[in-house]
Symmetry: C2
Subunit: 451 residues, 2 copies
């Protein structure tokens, strides 16, 4: 009995001493990053020096070189490129015009959806019909759709406290509406952007054509234009004129950029990731320059603070998240071949905003363990520990049973600027970005120590 | 025993039914405000229609008229003005120049601190000496200070996760350095702005002159200029040339704007507050247009959702928070006279950012009770329930033992723009602002129901 009591006291003392040691390390990490963190400067280089960087573009290749250099400078023991075949989609010139009753053509601000085929630079003119939902569209007989442009005017769910729910609801219109329309003989699609903003910015993003259906062009318009078209269409007919050079040009060789600090013998791999590609508008600052520079910061912080890692900490800057996820699958294939054991992967791809929580996609017991660290994270504003989607690039690793996680930052501003010309460095706050890097580093410190 | 068990079961059932009812009401409040809330439009009127509005300015008087109108439109049963004598401080023209070794004068971006006396529009030229802390200054003999300008180069505490801690540390330099310098015969003061930004924006804010000491001019410069002056002063002497028309012009009659929905007979008063005045630069959008429009939103939401209030819900738009807190004291005096019992007061004056918590300044038992509502608040991102400072305007009510509270929004961006030209509508996000109004309304709903 005495023995048990003593052991129990010792254990309690040990746990409490460890907690206190971890809390000191958490503070050291946060303060180091807030004062000496390079994430914001790195993001400036990536956004202002290179700019947007769609897979298959020369800008993406510049970003690869930049990423290699940054990982070396951050102190990686090993930096290498992982070959990935990526699709090459090119926007080219594009314009969308409308007219009522044979009046004059008026230009509408627009962006072709990613992967969309255009009109080979020719004018495509058709009547525009409007539906507000998939259900409404599916109830239309094909002869009401044949030869028409279809305007999918699905409203953004402003009532959701979590904007990712609104994004989830509206996602299928961007991804699938082109093929729905094609199946009924429609010639093209206009969608209300997946946007929480009260402005006229169109938001691009990828669509997927169904095999064996015609690849009709699909474009997004901003909320103000969508409101206007809806008002006009209530009273009269509208014609649209689309001219777009958008086209898919096959594939080309590209790369994931990987840098790591090596663990001890028999160690496993911990992945910290973001995606290096972006859409071909704006600067890809929140999506996902932020995740890239935060992941590099994790590695740099381990080196600069001299934290001894047990496991290999591997930073992956993925290629082609936006229009193919080829980078994610290439890494999966590599792991399948190498059979390297993986302990954990975390991705930051929800913007460089103040971190609020940790998204977890793993077995319940591991979720409970990470959640039990909440007291350590609370002083840093991290309080939301939930089972959620982790990240698109690391997603394929789920098939290997690897515990997946995502940085969950404050989501309120993301869908104002996501996939637009407005996703620029100016929309990223230095402290918010750095605190996200700090949260990732703190979590990886814990995983490395206790798993 | 059976009886007891039954009562206990009934009680548990009752508590759980109430929790569920409250959770439904929380959702209704949040969704109503996210979809129909007027805060952002109201803030646009206040910032773009009126602009900055220092106490004693004609813009402030316009804001009073606007506030009355808005409260009536929001559905207040009663709207009235509460007289307050406010100081009239006028900035006028101002410029700060430096030169090295009798070279040419070079202009530095600056703002006089609020309440500072200037140079009556005359040139005041003196050598500039630098100290990095109060301690370093107090160790200087008076003959090193006499006739000099003193540059208080106290660095911002970037390492703090909570920027309010850095603000707290640096506050005394803005408030008191002018009188410290005057006590040793200094002729003026330049301070490094209380700023978390990596830019050159000067941040104004109030100083307090000590009685019986000379009122020497005090100005703030941005971080970039402060860095530069520090570098220059390490190598050589610097002269400064200040010309400022800043001056205090006595007092004038102004007003707190008050609107309320009346409670039942024998009810008490619940206060929701912000301050209507701002500094005389920028637009006072976060500080504190946000608190103003959020407080009005509380009242509007009770009316629009038809929530029956037990107690009087009183919105107070305070005068003169920035350079005197006269509005806060005028309201205290009025309550002392009227002896109206007050149940609770909450202020929003930390910016219109995503709400994260509730600051509480009240007895432990009440803090525990509010904290026990955390489960209701968590789906709205509100997780930080702590004893903290509530708000400057409601602060005087503490002397009457009234439980005080403050909305605690995400603090990371606030001190980038606080008291600067950059505190504009563009820096406020619509959803973040509305969620703050929602949190205030939810809390007041609970207080009104259970206290």
């Amino acid at each position: 009995m005495k023995h048990l009591l003593l052991s129990s006291l010792l254990l309690t003392g040990l746990v409490s001493a460890q907690k206190s040691q971890d809390s000191v390390q958490f503070k050291a990490i946060a303060e180091h990053i807030l004062v000496h963190g390079e994430s914001y400067n790195d993001l400036k280089e990536l956004t202002k020096g290179i700019g947007h960087r769609l897979s298959g573009s020369s800008a993406y290749e510049k970003a690869v070189v930049w990423g290699e250099k940054k990982l070396r400078q951050a102190g990686a023991d090993k930096v290498y490129l992982q070959p990935v075949m990526v699709p090459v989609w090119v926007r080219g010139k594009e314009s969308l015009k409308i007219r009522t009753n044979g009046g004059h053509w008026e230009e509408i601000k627009m962006l072709s959806l990613g992967n969309s085929e255009g009109t080979q630079g020719k004018d495509l003119k058709a009547e525009l019909i409007m539906v507000s939902s998939e259900k409404e569209f599916q109830m239309l007989p094909a002869d009401k759709v044949r030869g028409k442009f279809v305007f999918f005017n699905f409203p953004w769910g402003h009532h959701h406290v979590e904007p990712f729910k609104a994004y989830g609801e509206a996602g299928k219109y961007r991804r699938s509406a082109a093929s729905w329309a094609a199946a009924k003989g429609g010639v093209g699609v206009v969608i209300r952007s997946l946007s929480s903003a009260f402005d006229d910015e169109p938001h691009t993003g990828s669509l997927r054509y169904e095999e064996e259906l015609k690849k009709v062009p699909a474009v997004a318009i901003g909320n103000e234009s969508a409101d206007r078209l809806a008002r006009l269409l209530e009273k009269q007919k509208l014609e649209v004129l689309l001219n777009s050079e958008a086209t898919n040009k096959g594939e080309q060789l590209s790369y994931n950029v990987i840098g790591e600090i090596t663990g001890h013998k028999d160690s496993k791999v911990i992945v910290a990731a973001g995606h290096l590609d972006s859409w071909d508008v704006g600067e890809g600052a929140h999506d996902d320059g932020s995740g890239v520079v935060q992941s590099i910061e994790v590695l740099r912080t381990f080196k600069e603070l001299g934290i001894k890692n047990n496991h290999t900490i591997r930073v992956i800057l993925y290629a082609n998240e936006e229009n193919g996820v080829r980078g994610g699958y290439a890494y999966l294939d590599a792991v399948k071949k190498s059979k390297e054991p993986h302990l954990f992967a975390i991705e930051s791809d929800s913007g460089g905003f103040t971190p609020r929580g940790i998204a977890m996609d793993m077995e319940e017991e591991k979720i409970r363990q990470i959640t039990s660290w909440e007291d350590l994270f609370r002083p840093y504003g991290i309080h939301d520990f939930q089972r959620r989607h982790s990240g698109v690039d690391i997603g394929p690793l789920k098939s290997l049973g690897i515990p997946l996680s995502g940085l969950f930052p404050d989501p309120q501003r993301y869908f104002d600027i996501h996939h637009t010309h407005e996703d620029t460095l100016e929309k990223v706050n230095r402290r918010e970005l750095l605190l996200g890097a700090s949260a990732m580093t703190q979590l990886i410190y814990m995983i490395d120590k206790y798993w």
